[in-house]
Amino acid sequence: MSWLNLFGACTLDYAYFLAFFTGGLVAFSEIASRYSDAPGALFKNYASWLYVSINGLSAVLVYCLSSFVDLKVAEKNMNDHPYILAIVSGVGAMAFLRSSIINIKHNGHNVDAGLNKAIQQLLDWVDRMYDRQRSREIVKRVGPLVKDLSPDFLATSILPSCMAAMENLTQSEISDVNNETKRIIESLTIESQAKSFQLGFCIARITGFELLQEVVTSLSATGAVPLSTKLAALRDLKLQLFQSRGDS
């Protein structure tokens, strides 16, 4: 008995679940790679479940559609092996539903025809919703952590320490974060406080909040002085030096 026959012995009903599960898993891995700072947070977010569900349902749809067609692989009819077909549908659903079936040229413009527009629109909407929720969480947690840190301190101390602590960062991720940091630091139109926030968010997206918090706490304990403390010291000195002058 070949391995295809083993799968063929399974009942058809479970194949729908398998297609849904596989499609959902593909969606989950896709969204987890996009928001790699905290993949665990995906489970707490309804938008991510919605994204996974839409992908799962798309896989079921593809599985249903494929059952109308006589698909043959190695002279075996795939409809006799619903589990295999379900897995293939799950993995291929996104590729199938996100590609246009035909490309029509109309008035010199290429127009895509197919389900891809509707599915992509839906997924973009859910993706954006998830992105907003994640961003809100990051702002809520990272904002208070970095508000007293200067952009220079974040760029020259916190970022390199975080990068050094992480082992599996790819060269392109390092290069992206370095370019973004350079852009923020060198900008003449972003005010200092906003630079600190942006750098904090940029670092947290790569490292996750927990590591950033650990690094900030560790470096603060070594005596690196936050900007607010420096400003307070400068104001004290100014008062001491120019108090009697009534000011210039």
Partner: protein, 129 residues
């Protein structure tokens, strides 16, 4: 009839831009004050002129030059007592220049500039005591 939702994003952008603009203007104003105080000092004490004024007045006085201005100011404070007869502790031009430099660093919110201003203020305080 539905009530339109209030959108403050444009207002906030404008407010932020205004803040940046105000901070930059403030920094430039104080740096020009530093520059004019030192220029007055150089004019009064003619023999000082060659060493520093070119660096000061050729450079564009902007947010970016804060740290450079700080370095020049610091070297002036250190050099003057030994190389000239200017009493930096009593000279009003020097005091005003330091004051305006501190103001500009404070307005900048820039860590390096604030460090530089703290250095200068501490140096001046040490010399005064």
């Amino acid at each position: 009839m539905s009530v339109p939702k209030r959108n403050f994003s444009g207002f906030l952008d404008g407010y932020r831009a205004q803040n940046i603009g105000t901070a930059n203007k403030s920094i430039e104003y104080h740096l020009h004050q530093v520059s004019s105080e030192l220029q007055s000092l150089f004019k009064e004490k003619g023999r000082l002129s060659n060493k520093y004024d070119n660096r000061f007045f050729q450079d564009q006085l902007s947010v970016d030059s804060l740290v450079v201005v700080g370095e020049v100011l610091k070297s002036l404070i250190l050099d003057m007592p030994t190389s000239t007869d200017v009493d930096i502790l009593k000279d009003e031009h020097v005091k005003k220049a330091i004051y305006h430099y501190i103001e500009s660093a404070e307005a900048s919110n820039n860590s390096a500039a604030i460090d530089s201003a703290i250095d200068i203020a501490e140096l001046f305080k040490t010399l005064s005591s």
